[in-house]
């Protein structure tokens, strides 16, 4: 591709001191990754492999020393509205209503009120929360809370959306619905997404490219392209799609390797 990538990570290596022993932990080793516009990249790997560390570095929540990380050509030096994050826990504010939460990013950018309410309405419709505008988060189910979190991130119009195991805390049935919906939303908004998960199925279902991480220190083991058009990615069709099942089985095998080799040690 001749176009410049939206997110570029070059030779990124990261250590951090362990909270209890103080020994430095080697979390990431020589990561090279590019995410292009309108691409959905899923990172999958065994737990504790440094996926979340990588996402925190990209989000600007964790300072890094070795390597380069840029978004739209600008070095990452702290959190900013160009990189929206959907966290695993519900990070929406309990003292703000649904619409106030969704419009929060725009409010922080000091946009006029009429503009905010127009955009908020648009995203409330998009995530299917019409009628819940004035509810407080504690009145919503886990799935609905996560929809608010996604809408809040998208409404601020980031260059890239980072998602850190966003559906790990909801029940299986809701997860499938949310995955289908995320697909639809990404199609509609044409957003660039970096998605972190430990679920192989989820990665294969959502990602244009799946990046498999090795166990710690986290390294990119393989990259698998999944060439299924986004509009064909619906759960009821996917389970019989050979491209999906093959990719899923391949990723599963690679992740298994990491987990079992870990056990042998």
């Amino acid at each position: 591709m001749s176009v410049e990538a939206k997110l570029i990570i070059k030779d990124l290596t990261h250590y951090y001191p362990d909270e209890y022993t103080g020994e430095s932990v080697h979390a990431l080793e020589n990561i090279n990754l590019q995410v292009y516009e309108n691409e959905f990249v899923a990172i999958v790997g065994p737990s504790g492999c440094g996926k979340t560390t990588l996402l925190n570095i990209v989000a600007g929540l964790l300072p890094y020393r070795q390597g380069i990380a840029t978004v739209d050509g600008i070095d990452i030096s702290g959190p900013g509205p160009d990189r929206g994050v959907v966290f695993q826990e519900h990070a929406i504010l309990p003292w703000r209503t649904v619409s106030k939460n969704i419009g929060h990013g725009l409010e922080l950018q000091r946009l006029p009120k009429t503009e905010i309410s127009r955009r908020v309405h648009e995203y409330i419709d998009l995530v299917g929360l019409t009628g819940f505008e004035d509810r407080y988060p504690h009145e919503l189910s886990g799935g609905m809370k996560q929809r608010v979190a996604v809408a809040r991130t998208l409404c601020a119009d980031p260059v890239i959306m980072l998602m850190d195991e966003p559906f790990a805390a909801v029940d299986a049935q809701t997860r499938i619905t949310l995955q289908d919906e995320l697909n639809r939303i990404v199609m509609a908004t044409r957003k660039t997404v970096l998605f972190i998960t430990h679920s192989v199925e989820e990665a294969a279902f959502l990602g244009d490219r799946c990046i498999v991480f090795s166990r710690r220190p986290g390294q990119i083991k393989t990259e698998i392209k999944i060439q299924i058009p986004r509009e064909e990615r619906v759960w009821k069709d996917m389970s019989s799609n050979p491209i999906f099942t093959d990719a899923r089985d391949e990723i599963l095998r690679l992740v298994r390797q990491e987990v079992t080799s870990d056990d042998e040690q």
Binding site: P17, G22, E23
Partner: protein, 271 residues
Amino acid sequence: MTSNNNVVSFRHKLKKFTTDGAGRLIIFLIGSIILWAFISLFIIERPDRYLPSPMAVILSSLDMLYKGSLISFYSDTLGRLVFGGIVGILIGIPIGLALGLNRTIADMFYPLMNFFQSVSGIAIFPVVVIWFGNSDTTVMIVILYTSFFPIAFNVLSGVRSVPVRYIQAARTLGASRLQIIRDVLLPGAMPSIAVGTRLSVGFAWRAVIAGEMLAGRPGLGNMIFSGQELDNTAQILLGMVMIGVTWIVLDHYLLRPLEADTIERWGLVQR
């Protein structure tokens, strides 16, 4: 690589020492004493009157120790606290139990108790003085009055918080009313009793100081008050430090562990 690791772990150990409980407390204590000495020696005019230096306070304590008054004041105050606290709790528990067991009694006396609780022990002091004069009895009544309410209210809510299922279960096993109280309600209310005990002792501590001050009975409260009258500010500061430290020690090493242990042991406090 190993040396690097050693440096990291040493720095971490240092960081751990400076951010952890004991290390932090030591640093805090030293820091605040230095700050106090600095303000006293270089900033304040007439420090002997407005803020004597830590050294002056230590000298004053040595002087009082030598004369024996410090220990006698301290033991007077502690004696009042222990006696008043224990008696207050012993009165409070059965009354709280009675209120918790019978809804009619509770509905009847709750508003009255609530009213008298808000009449603080300090406010009734002038009334008690009219009745008993500036005597030890007055101080003791004020202490009992303040320590009674927290424990009574906590026992009440503790008994109420025992799940009805437990009582029903005991009843189906053929337990009598007395057995239910002994085997279900009292153990179920234990965590609340512990919480109430801590609150009661805390309230009693304040009441002891205030009562001694107002009634002029010997003790820490009177020590700081007479320090003001005698223009001996070092004595006031010494008394204040002793009051604060005594409470911290009492709370952190006796009452809190007691509370935590009870809650853990009788652990049904998952409300």
